[in-house]
Amino acid sequence: MPNFDKEYFNIGYLDTLSYRQTFIHRINPGIKLVVTLVFILIVVSFSKYEIHRLMPYFAFPVFLISAGEIPTGVILKKIFIVSPFVLFAGMFNPMLDTTIVYTISGVPVSGGWVSYVSIIIKFILTISSALLLIATTSFPGICSALEKLRVPKVFVMQLLFIYRYLFVLAEEAMRIVRARNMRAFGKHGRDIKTFINIIGTFLIRSIERSERIYHAICSRGFDGRIRLLRDIKFKFTDIIFALLSVSVFIILRMYDIAELIGDAVLKF
């Protein structure tokens, strides 16, 4: 299981970034979602020995970071935190696949190393595009896009509710931990029995909170349907963005740009 340290839960900052106003932030959320999906699919479609062909795809995250004014460090840090499983699962490639595929100035490189590097590059590309999607698109925006894409309403409702109460309950949990630590010195008070008392009480409180929320919803005329007053229109720029980026992804999939450039340089 991942190590749930503080950084992992520090999602408030990404959320704050998503409310900025740049050209990237203003692009229709649905378009951004679909473009990101296409990007990820194309990236993972490369076979495990292709490295240099993946390189041009860095253009997408780098473009989003710079045009969306997203601090690079934040994204890098997040990528670093979630990496262990991938690093582990790919770790054996260099040991097990020892066919030599490259010789770089006399140093032989095995297929295993190539495929390991390719996994890591894919990892960076796919993870950063997911993070950048959320850093440049407000979550409610993504949810209304999902609704437009015919994702079941109950599911979208759940996403909205969890998003809303995630922050409330996370802070509540943090304050509970604070209260416990204040009166538990060092390791005392962290035993499993106290833990169950705390979690159980927290669960009951959450359930009771849902009752109050239900009442609040009803007080404002809830009848089983949640209505959103929001219509997201397609702007001209949205369509341009979608067409441009998808065709660049496909062209890069068809032509080996890195190698073409490399060839040109070598000839020169």
Partner: protein, 244 residues
């Protein structure tokens, strides 16, 4: 307009764990009155307020809102008539943005898009939060959350406005703004609070609750000067009258 009347008749309530919180409440509030509810900690004020639009239903006795007696089938009417601002704003702002939240009620009332937008803008302007429209509630400060909760209730234009401890954790200036807002609201309003100075500023009538019963009911300026009564109910003279 009998719409704006609230009447409690011998209302009893017991919490599931056996605590008798209300023990036969009796009172009647008519159109346009502004009523303060005061009393010791644990006297039953919040429990009483939870009955006003059916969050809790009485175990015994009856509650009448407008012309209708409150029960499971009239609960929706009560919810439309009585707008309640509870103690914790987080439980009441459930939508992902301030705009969506304030629009939620009017949309459910079946208004047109334009009317809804107008109402929302109006309500947010009243509480001075129009600039927060696109923010998610978790990016607001406590005082801002409270203001938005009030806007969400105002946007539904309830006939009766009810608030539980509305000034808690507001700084003195925001508290003063809230007092002015309440003074301007022309319909029936009911406010439970320990802030007796606020009650004195806003309410003309005052109910004193003690151990689940009404022990006094009268003009605010009489009740809040009645020192033996105050003493009995864990209360004090409003601070602005305690010249030092």
């Amino acid at each position: 307009m009998s719409h704006h009347i609230i009447e409690f008749n011998n209302v009893h309530f017991t919490y599931p764990d056996g605590t008798d919180a209300l023990k036969g409440l009796d009172f009647r509030i008519t159109h346009g009155e502004s009523v303060g509810i005061v009393g010791a900690n644990g006297a039953g004020k919040s429990t009483l307020i939870s009955h006003m639009n059916g969050y809790l239903l009485p175990a015994k006795g009856t509650i009448t809102i407008g012309d209708l007696q409150l029960n499971k089938s009239t609960i929706n009417h009560a919810r439309k008539t009585v707008g309640v601002v509870f103690q914790n704003p987080d439980d009441q702002l459930f939508m992902p943005t301030v705009f969506d939240d304030v629009a939620f009620g009017p949309l459910n009332l079946g208004m047109t898009r334009e009317r809804v937008i107008e109402r929302v803008n109006e309500a947010l302007t009243t509480v001075g939060c129009l600039n927060l429209k696109d923010k998610p509630p978790h990016h607001l400060s406590m005082g801002q959350k409270r203001a938005v909760t009030i806007a969400a209730v105002i946007a539904m234009q309830p006939d009766i406005l009810v608030m539980d401890e509305p000034a808690a954790s507001l700084d003195p200036k925001s508290r003063r703004q809230l007092i002015n807002l309440l003074k301007e609201f022309r319909h029936t309003k009911i406010i439970a609070s320990h802030d007796l100075d606020l009650i004195r500023d806003v309410c003309t009538r005052c109910l004193v609750i003690s151990d689940g019963e009404v022990t006094a009911d009268g003009r605010t300026d009489e009740i809040l000067l009645n020192e033996p009564l105050l003493e009995e109910n864990n209360l004090e003279l409003p601070l602005s009258l305690q010249h030092k």
